[in-house]
Amino acid sequence: MSVINFEFRNQVLKHNASLSYCYQCSTCSGGCPVALITEGRYNPRKIIEEAILGLQEKLINEQDPNPWLCSTCQTCVELCPQKVELTEIFTLIKNKCFEAGKYPAAFSVQGQAVLENGIAIPYSKAILTRREKLGLPTITTAPVDEIKTILKETNFEKNILKGGK
């Protein structure tokens, strides 16, 4: 059984007050390219409903519906007649899943690459050769220490090193 967690609900509202304007019309789900083809596995209206009710267990632990299936296409945000900022709310929910270590491993791979290199895709030898052949300049990316300092400060380093599910 789902239990309403008022504290969780208030955390979402504090982050994004637009949540409370949702009147569950389902315009978001009707326009969602993922909801249309996933037979109930993904449903933006339902995630918003669970957020309004503060169903932390459903949202973070069970992930039902699965917030990671959002393609971030922003169609729902554009369509919402109540101007609910759905994608921002989904991002907050996913951020909380991340803190709890419940997120797809591919995000962890990207996050660790940024932590170690400052960029998401390190330059391989083959690519450097290809760049030279194409007449492209050498790129000087961010100092890794500087990026690490920022990632420590935001707790990203600590969370990413815990890994995903």
Binding site: P33, L69, F98, V114, I127, T141, I150
Partner: protein
């Protein structure tokens, strides 16, 4: 006219040929692009932002703080969405700006929220006359299905460019290059790339639906402006053909590649041979 160039990660480190054509096009148009030392990942709005919004804000603001010229141009819709989005968050809420700068202070940086961010296609559109003047080899016979991609358009409140559901800018540029554009039903639909990280089967289903629709509309190539969309369209056709007995063989062009071809550059100097779906058959078909 001069701007700082923000390259991001995917284009320079995986698809450098897209960078090559883009740089050539800007050079031809006489728009100077400065390379800036020290940019990090933008960070990815479909990756890092989804796991840690505050880290996304801090790294994005750090990148924006490094620009000293007339603003930033990026060849990538993801980078543009991030950089415009970070600007939006910081300028909307003084509290957010304070928090972000508290983090940046640790690395002796500060961001005031004033760096202008532009997508390269915005700049091409704003310089349409110059684009037309430089066409020496019109793309006759190219029937182009334009794929705008989500982050080029939405959220419109942040992107502030074109129309979120009835976009026209890229079609206009493609037509200015002498090609024809083809309408198709799923034109505005997401390519599916962002969900690849959580459900690759779903991601493939989304691109399959688009490709099917484009094939039905009898386009002979696709034009797009985002490296994530590019990979989704170009890298998956072979796999889909294997899985579903389809016969996709649709060349995928970056808008800059089409412009560079129309400006007279040779396919080889643009690195078109690095595409998974080679455009040779199309060139032959249309006598290009």
């Amino acid at each position: 006219m001069a701007y700082d160039l923000f390259l991001g990660c995917v284009i320079p480190a995986r698809l450098p040929f897209l960078e090559a054509s883009s740089r050539k096009v800007f050079e031809k148009l006489g728009i100077e692009l400065h390379d800036v030392d020290g940019f990090s990942c933008c960070p990815d709005p479909t990756g890092i932002e989804q796991i840690d919004h505050n880290t996304w804000l801090a790294l994005g603001a750090r990148n924006l703080s490094l620009s000293s010229n007339g603003g930033i141009i990026s060849f990538c819709s993801g980078c543009v969405e991030t950089l415009k989005g970070v600007n939006y968050c910081i300028n909307k809420d003084q509290e957010v700006k304070k928090e972000v700068n508290k983090v940046l202070k640790k690395v002796k940086k500060n961001y005031d929220g004033s760096t202008k961010v532009l997508h390269f296609a915005e700049v091409l559109y704003e310089n349409l006359d110059k684009v037309r003047e430089n066409v020496v080899k019109p793309l006759s016979g190219f029937r182009v299905a334009v794929h705008y991609g989500c982050h080029y358009l939405r959220p419109s409140e942040i992107i502030e460019w074109d129309d979120p559901f009835e976009p026209t800018t890229i079609d206009t540029i493609v037509k200015a290059l002498g090609a024809e554009t083809v309408e198709y039903e799923l034109k505005l639909e997401c390519c599916g790339n962002p969900v690849e990280k959580s459900d690759s089967e779903l991601s493939l289903m989304m691109i399959n639906n688009k490709l099917q629709d484009i094939q039905k509309a009898e386009a002979n190539c696709v034009a797009l402006v985002c490296p994530a969309c590019y990979q989704q369209f170009d890298f998956n056709q072979r796999e889909l053909n294997k899985q579903n007995n389809t016969n996709y063989d649709l060349p995928i062009f970056y808008l800059s590649e089409l412009a560079a071809l129309a400006f007279g550059y040779e396919p080889a100097e643009l690195g078109l041979n690095f595409h998974r779906v080679r455009p040779n058959a199309l060139f032959e078909e249309v006598g290009f």
